[in-house]
């Protein structure tokens, strides 16, 4: 039988994909997609309110509540800003990191989570090197879990602080967002998309507000199938062409720790994808330049651009504290309303 002679395809109705049970806890923030546009607006509003609040008043909001930071990977910005955010609201924080705990002795994520819960942790902020770890922790502890980065998957609070930064420049004064808030805005995300949780959270969040996301990078770091991750995402491999269309440019570090043997020609990479002063001046003189950090000066971005007038990198860091105050507040107040599991 030739391929053309195969019988007409039957109408198949295979078993449906079950509805996701996540998040189990209304205070959890596992994915940038967990938030409705209303929820997003509320968080942005609270971030501004908390930032402007009298520090003494602010420190009574979560007085003596217990927040655990569980970090399996090194972190400067995320860890410190979550800690400052929780402490700013009056919460007690404790840091457990993989190198100074029983994790080194082989304790599982489940047991570590249950131990923190038994110690009185009311929410756990998790940074982990495995994609999906935050979902596992939430399922096992049923506590509100805040995903502070899981492997190559998501980093939702980074996407939120990036959004706050973008709004401040492109839509000043806007806090209540809608599906049209960023209509007409193109954000380019450039570099090591494949290994980046920042890229994934942003490409899922920004199009929901009407933005177009352009992904830019070499094939090894940006597979074609990335464009199918969601609506409003396209691939533009020509960096200059991407810059010309962009109002915001998000540069990413090459994640050497996740390359898994992949060999890159760094000189070629720099020639094609390094954001330099002349390149920025020629193609996107008005755009803001973001970077989630850590930046590797002289690789994906030159020092001149990182320190230049279009850079909002340190603003992003500052926004991190405000956003994380709102996210920690949500985690602990949702648990009060929703009852603890």
């Amino acid at each position: 039988m030739s391929p053309t002679a195969t019988p007409a395809r039957r109408q198949l109705h295979p078993p449906p994909v079950p509805v996701s049970p996540f998040p189990y806890h209304p205070g959890s923030l596992l994915s940038a997609q967990d938030l409705t546009l209303d929820g997003l607006s509320h968080l942005l509003t609270r971030a501004t309110a908390l930032e402007n609040e009298d520090p003494l008043v602010r420190s009574r909001i979560l007085a003596k509540r217990r927040v655990a930071l569980l970090f399996y990977e090194s972190s400067t910005r995320t860890r410190t800003s979550f800690e400052l955010a929780a402490k700013g609201l009056g919460a007690d924080t404790t840091l457990v990191s993989s190198l100074s705990s029983s994790i080194e002795k082989g304790e599982s994520l489940k047991d570590t989570g249950l131990t923190l819960r038994a110690l009185g942790a009311e929410t756990i902020i998790l940074r982990h090197n495995s994609s999906g770890a935050a979902w596992l922790l939430e399922a096992e502890t049923r506590l509100p879990v805040l995903n502070a980065g899981d492997g190559m998957h998501e980093h939702p609070t980074q996407a939120l602080l990036d959004l706050r930064t973008i709004l401040a420049h492109l839509r000043p004064g806007v806090q209540a967002v809608s599906a049209e808030t960023l209509a007409g805005v193109t954000v380019s995300i450039v570099g090591d998309i494949l290994h980046s949780r920042v890229a994934r959270s942003n490409m899922l969040l920004l199009p929901r507000l009407g933005a177009r996301v352009l992904l830019c990078g070499p094939k090894e770091l940006l597979p074609e199938l990335a464009a199918a991750a969601g609506p409003g995402i396209a691939i533009e491999r020509d960096f200059d062409a991407a810059l010309r269309q962009s109002q915001a440019v998000m540069m990413l570090r090459i994640q050497a720790e996740r390359l898994a043997g992949l060999q890159l020609d760094l000189e070629l990479y720099k020639a094609n994808y390094q954001l330099t002063g002349p390149r920025l001046a020629a193609h996107a003189p008005e755009a803001i330049v973001l970077h989630p950090g850590p930046i590797i000066r002289g690789l994906e971005i030159t020092a001149g651009v990182a320190d230049g007038p279009q850079s909002v990198i340190l603003e992003q860091v500052r926004n991190g504290v405000a956003i994380r105050m709102a996210v920690v507040e949500r985690a602990l107040t949702a648990s009060q309303q929703g009852g603890r599991a």
């Binding site: 599982s108 495995s130 994934r200």
Partner: protein, 433 residues
Amino acid sequence: MTALAILGGHLIDPAAGVDLLKDILLKDGRVAEIAGPGKLKQANGAESLDATGLTVAPGLIDMHVHLREPGQGYKETIASGTAAAAAGGFTSVAAMPNTLPVNDSPEIARWMQAPERGAAIRVFPVAAATRGSKGEAINDYAAMKSAGAVAVSDDGHPILKDSVMRETLAAAARVGLTVIQHAEDTRLTQGGSMNLGPVSFKLGLRGMPPEAESGMVERDIRLVTELRDIRAHLHVAHTSTAAALNAVRQARRNGLRVTCEVTPHHFLLSEEHVGLYNTNAKMNPPLRAAADRDAMIEAILDGVVDVIATDHAPHAVHEKEVEFENAPNGITGLETALGLCLRWLHKEWKMPLGRVLSLLSAQPAALLNLKGRGTLVAGSFADVVIFDPKAEWTYNARETRSKSRNTPFDGWTMQGKVRWTISEGRVAYSSPA
């Protein structure tokens, strides 16, 4: 030995072309007599089972299971795995050799079949194709066959080297054994924990490309083509990609001895069922794209697929309650195979019951050359499954007879309830109506 009469049931024996109300007499572990209702001549003094309204069929044969013994009794034992098999209607299973140590010696093969293992049904060992399943030096297949092995495979460890695979196919053909290949080019799947595609990208998981399977199947078919004069037999385990199925289809058109099996999970589930890191949806080969899953269904309905096998792969709860990429591959399947095949292949996709049962008994028996099994003609082994084809029930993994319950089918609706499983004349499993 006592005799057992199965009365009033509807016998479906696809290999014999029987689909009628029949009474059956089992004696001394064999089928003694088959007759119209009330017409058995030698049934005096025999115990009887009332099979009125039930389907009576040859006991099911699962040619791909992992019983974990020797070496990993905390996941499964031969006793617990075969108890689960009997509950699922199986009377024979072929046990893969990736045990600890690997089943690459007659001593281990005999140990697995010894009465002390407490097997509820027949266990046929699959011998390791190479020493230690390391893909280098081939085993003594004649000795393994004498010790009861029914096929050779390095399941879980594909034989990558062309020269070794060619030698394996040739040596197995000389002693009349099938080579079962777990088709995976591990050079392409390293670090992968699910199918490569938009879903793996979205979940931030490293992917296993479909070409890793189909490329290996194509390589193996080239080798079988070279060895066509000695009729080398390649069996593709747990086929999961449309491309691999196409290669099998083409090889058969070219007259080659190439067969394949598909698991229930690969014809029912797709990569979307991984959901948010459900480790009970993690196996190797991984759940593929919906188009591949649909191709499995089509190929089963079109008769390209020879066998439904479960790849029953038990793992302890604590081993699966971990980060997705750290979880071991595999799911259990013995208790759910018949219920899923009847619910979906028969009820949903209208495959005749006899054809479904053939995929689960007559065809694997023929493929592995299990004489006197997969049929209930007089003189064959008294391996019988008796089930209520109309009964719907819900699978509860906590009630499993396996030591493990790593299944994505917990809570699923099943069709067809097993009432009795009879292994060589002994009731290996029974359940109330």
